[in-house]
């Protein structure tokens, strides 16, 4: 017991001496010195581990936003994100829908980009250029089960930190029919073929599934995926699809007629889905949907999310919003005496509800 106390005393001394040196160096008032000291003592542990991968903070760029190029992903990391997700990668180039593909309002945002992507060849360039300033989650998509296996095999060679299977995009139904994520059997089948496809890889890459909220029971889908070998989840994808009509033109605004709904308004649905998944599987979840502020992110973690996916926020707060959210999370923790963010993950279920 003596040793830790000694270390503790020593570190306080160290902090104080550094603080004094700093204060003298800055030639500023006592106030500055106190602030530095306080900040040092108040430090909140923001680091989280997700499927064995360490993230410097729980914020992760969601797939589909600012993910076309490595440069843009790096910029998101520079702006404070703990990790980033690529746009969904297809085996071959895939044209999306024609514009208008997205618009926002105060409470919600809609998009029907239609999963445009240049395919696996371009993804190779992206991986080569990214240089890993923060963990990279590769989102993959395909129209058929066996294609998922193929694209996963190719993507695994590029060694992403995590593979995210996108089986829940709501705005390509005209092309590919009902998303796999709407059926427990289909969802589990995709998970199984992806897991099988990459099981011989030397570097074990965790596989997570992006689930759709547009189902009667997301918990049953999640447990089917877990049984099929999923290592975690990302939830939720956009809601709906929804539809918005221009009154003057009397026609849908989105060229695709319908599009996924995201933004502030969908947060309660996302929180509920994350909690449903967490309660039944106890697997790590990237809680995504309607997170605009640090408190939203805290709420998502309380529901069971280890990481917090952030996408549409960029529309409301810009890419700078990532660092703002991290700061807000820290501030909340300080105010509420939380020293380590890991304490609050899934805490709603720890209190017996």
């Amino acid at each position: 017991m003596l040793a830790p106390r000694l270390i503790c005393k020593f570190s306080i001394f160290w902090v104080l001496s550094k603080g004094v040196i700093l204060a003298v160096f800055c030639k500023k008032s006592n106030c500055c010195f106190l602030r530095i000291l306080l900040e040092f003592l108040r430090m909140v542990k923001m680091k989280v581990k997700f499927c064995g991968v360490e993230f410097k903070n729980p914020t992760v760029l969601a797939s589909g936003v600012l993910g076309v190029t490595a440069a843009s992903l790096k910029r998101v990391v520079e702006n404070g994100a703990g990790g980033v997700t690529t746009k969904s990668i297809w085996l071959k180039p895939h044209e999306g829908h024609k514009n208008p593909t997205m618009f926002g309002t105060e409470h919600y945002f809609m998009n029907a980009v239609g999963l445009s992507d240049a395919g696996i060849e371009k993804a190779k360039d992206l991986f080569a250029e990214y240089g890993r300033p923060a963990p990279l989650i590769a989102s993959i998509v395909a129209g058929k089960n066996y294609e998922f296996a193929k694209v996963a095999t190719e993507v695994a060679k590029m060694r992403p930190d995590i593979i995210e299977i996108n089986i829940s995009c709501p705005n390509v139904e005209d092309e590919f029919g009902t998303p796999f994520a709407c059926s427990a059997v289909s969802a589990a089948a995709v998970v199984k073929s992806v897991k099988d496809a990459i099981k011989d890889e030397k570097f074990k890459i965790p596989v997570i599934v992006k689930l759709s909220p547009n189902v009667p029971s997301i918990a049953s889908i999640a447990s089917a995926c877990a049984e099929a070998g999923a290592d975690g989840f990302c939830a939720i994808n956009t809601i709906g699809p929804g539809m918005a009509i221009d009154l003057k033109l009397r026609r849908p605004i989105l060229t695709n007629r319908v599009g996924g709904v995201s933004g502030p308004g969908i947060k309660p649905v996302a929180v509920k889905c994350v909690n449903d998944i967490w309660r039944i599987t106890r697997l790590p979840v990237i809680g995504t949907g309607g997170v605009m502020t640090g408190e939203d992110a805290i709420e998502m973690m309380m529901a069971g999310a280890t990481l917090v996916g952030i996408g549409t926020m960029v529309y409301y707060r810009g890419v700078e919003g990532f660092s703002a959210i991290v700061d807000e999370m820290k501030a909340w923790c300080e105010k509420n005496g939380v020293k380590d963010l890991n304490e609050i993950i899934g805490c709603v279920n720890k209190s017996g509800t």
């Binding site: 589909g64 936003v65 600012l66 993910g67 076309v68 190029t69 490595a70 440069a71 843009s72 992903l73 790096k74 910029r75 998101v76 746009k87 180039p93 895939h94 044209e95 999306g96 024609k98 514009n99 208008p100 593909t101 997205m102 618009f103 926002g104 309002t105 105060e106 409470h107 980009v113 445009s116 992507d117 240049a118 395919g119 371009k122 360039d125 250029e129 918005a244 221009d246 003057k248 033109l249 026609r251 605004i253 060229t255 549409t312 960029v314 529309y315 409301y316 810009g318 890419v319």
Partner: protein
Amino acid sequence: MQSGNLKFDSRPKILPIKKIVKETENIWTFIFDYSEFSHFGASKPGQFVMLWIPGVDEKPFSIAYDDGNEFWLTIAKVGPATVELFKLKTGDLIGVRGPFGTHYEFVAGEHLALLAGGYGAAPMYNVACAALAVGCKVEFIVGARNKDLLLYEGRVKELAKKYKGKIKYHAATDDGSAGYKGYNTDVLAQVLKKKAGLWDGNVRGDKIDRVFACGPEIMMKKAAEMAVKAKTKCQISLERYMKCGFGVCGQCCMDDSGICVCKDGSVYDGAAALKLREFGRYHRDGVGRMVVR
């Protein structure tokens, strides 16, 4: 009744085409009446709008003029979307989102060199109008392949009549059918050396304060290099494939700083643009594939 916070409402506003002016066979100016939405305020020179041709597509276009009640877009018939646009007539409804992006920045009374290549003449006219109105001096340098493709010549000459001694029009054509025979950047070089321009009238003591360029990327690159060499401030207008217009989709991000052209541009500092790896070298198509120039 409008509800909610308009700041975050990026749904298209539906406007009638007020008038169509044919500049050439394939380049028309569409004039839109937005008095119904004038509470949003006028755009700033260099900004763009996303123009929705209902049922077809939505594309970005630079604003060529905006007085707070109407704005102009000068558009060339080049692709499937514009082919459909050119089938519309006065009174037809169209969707507009924006204005988006950054704008050309100047201070009242400065001496500006505006370099326009081809279609770039239209947004530069917008800059000239705004600059002259606050007492700036303007060198308006336009380049085109030949005389018939010199856009906005008449309008700029009208400006020259209205603001005597404040604006000088310089044309450059590849075939010499009008003005200087050669590149417009050669004219810019002369202007930067004070060997051409408003100094003809013995205007003493002032140099070019800023160079603004809009046109082919290779031309803008040259202009930016010249401005950096002459230690003159410079802004150029970037152009990339766009989807959202407000910095979310990532389609127009440029290497290797990852700036969004739609939000951090399209008007961008010339010296900073020269540091972008892809500037003047390549761009990306609708799925994000690299296309080398």
